[in-house]
Symmetry: C2
Subunit: 323 residues, 2 copies
């Protein structure tokens, strides 16, 4: 009877970094990924390990997989980390099906697939998003109820939260719903730094920036995010459904500053070109800040500021991908 | 430039009865139905009419239909009645995909299909359900916020409401969300009377009733429901999103009483057999009553009591289907 850690979105940035934390411990890890955004190379280091099994499965469709079912039947589903989602918000703007399928249906199908193994002593951990709040002024706590997501991505994350809560109350298992800020780290699959690196590899003369550059958002390091989630999920909670804003408790960094740090690092003399419109894309939340008092009270504080994180990841990524 | 009335779920009980109200007026009617539950014979009377066009389409999948698009492009989408849904709550208990696809995705795909034609002067009318409330004591008003649906059907109706609200706020059109009680009428496709008629056609000696017979629910006549919706949607509202509980303002009729009326009418000396469990099925809401003060204040009152409606429809259905 082994303790199973099931991770959907295993080949993504969060998933692959999470596996690093579990791989040398006494767990059997089941990783699932459609490889739409996740990359096989991110999980290659784990493939030779006996306690890691990878399944390429598209969770946007109803799942039948006897091999996984047999493992779950004979062992103990200790934790399920549901990280699979479309993480490229912009791609869901023009095609509503992207987030419907890859963000919402992945949640519904994952829960229904592992439903009978989600017992009272199983922890279900979900990577939700600050995008569920939409454009809100002031510092938002977890109890804020007037959610108004402005992207399909945010809406489908919100529906996912609701669906998880519904099933958790019915089946009586513990859920940890973490509302992410912008998360960056090694193994990027999307986002501003990822885009900049791609753009500059094609054209070193100019860098087209989405929006007027004044969008300001908090960024957190994926390693701190994972550390925080592990810290929190090890605490005991009475309720079945527990929500947490995670990330730094600051207003974040402006797109302009990210551009400066990036162009300073790449050092090609590239000229940044900003747009006149404020939003980088439809569904771009211009600025938000949410309260992380709840996790702080529980004893966790993020160490790196948005600027420090951005600087660190630009340094790592530019080194890895451009040189 | 014609005024278009688009009706999804056109071959269902509500849809087919609604078409009767519009068919002799100066509208072009577009009817859509997957015919999973709806029946062609219910819309046969309209098929010879010039102003009625029927399309067999499964709205649980992304829709592309150039013929409908061309009509919508050249004319004015006056009203969209979105009635398509799985209406057989029990079928969604064992297979979560039924309501996910036929109740929720039909809503998402319908809205996205007609999205660009939903203008400020278009009315979008949706048949929601009292099932979104779940097991609640007391009389529930439209402002009640602690929804806790206990069936997939209720949950997917709730998600549909939310999705409609989201799009209506974005695109700025008027929506009328009607939360239905149990609705019965001619052209039944499901429900207790439909089941009883099927059961007794196989076996006249005994009638197996689901649950202990004490479940009590309000029933309304489909013709009154339609009358009410038409009355309400002709009123002007300032808000884009308007919710209405519709039906009688009474506690309803017990399953036991329905059994009595039915067996009295069929008159075969059939013996009813009740179960020990209270719920007829998982997801069966035992009793609820909701406040219809809002529609009453607007000037609409349902005339028939649950008992009168049940008696009327049993009389009609038994005559039509059994003799």
């Amino acid at each position: 009877m082994k303790k199973i850690i099931l991770i959907t979105g295993a080949a993504g940035m969060v998933g692959s970094n999470l596996i690093s934390k579990y791989i040398n411990k006494d767990f059997q890890i089941i990783g699932i990924d459609s490889l739409k955004l996740g990359k096989l190379k991110y999980i290659e280091p784990f493939q030779k390990k006996k306690n890691f099994l990878f399944f390429k499965l598209d969770l946007s469709k109803k799942i039948k997989n006897k091999k996984i079912e047999n493992i779950l039947k004979k062992n103990h589903l200790y934790e399920a980390w549901h990280l699979a989602a479309n993480s490229d918000i912009q791609s869901g703007i023009n095609d509503y099906e992207v987030d419907l399928k890859d963000t919402f249906l992945t949640t519904v199908n994952t829960l229904n697939f592992i439903n009978r193994y989600l017992k009272k002593n199983t922890k279900f951990i979900f990577s939700s998003s600050s995008a569920i709040y939409g454009n809100v002024r002031g510092s938002i706590s977890e109890n804020y109820k007037k959610m108004n997501p402005i992207s399909n991505y945010g809406l489908m994350k919100l529906y996912s939260e609701e669906y998880i809560a519904q099933i958790a109350n019915k089946n009586n298992f513990k859920t940890y719903i973490f509302r992410f800020p912008n998360v960056i780290g090694d193994n990027l699959t999307h986002g501003i730094i990822y885009d900049f690196i791609k753009k500059i590899s094609y054209n070193k003369k100019i860098l087209n920036v989405l929006g007027d550059g004044n969008q300001q958002k908090p960024y957190s390091d994926v390693l701190e995010i994972i550390k925080c989630m592990i810290y929190i999920k090890n605490k005991k909670f009475l309720k079945n459904i527990n929500y947490f804003n995670i990330g730094t408790n600051e207003k974040g960094i402006k797109v302009r500053e990210i551009v400066d740090i990036f162009l300073n690092k790449t050092n090609y003399g590239t000229k940044p070109i900003f747009q006149k419109k404020k939003q980088g894309w439809e569904g771009d939340v211009l600025n938000y800040s949410y309260s992380t008092k709840k996790i702080n009270k529980l004893g966790f504080k993020f160490k790196l500021s948005s600027k420090q994180v951005v600087t660190k990841i630009i340094k790592n990524s530019v080194k890895l991908n451009i040189k």
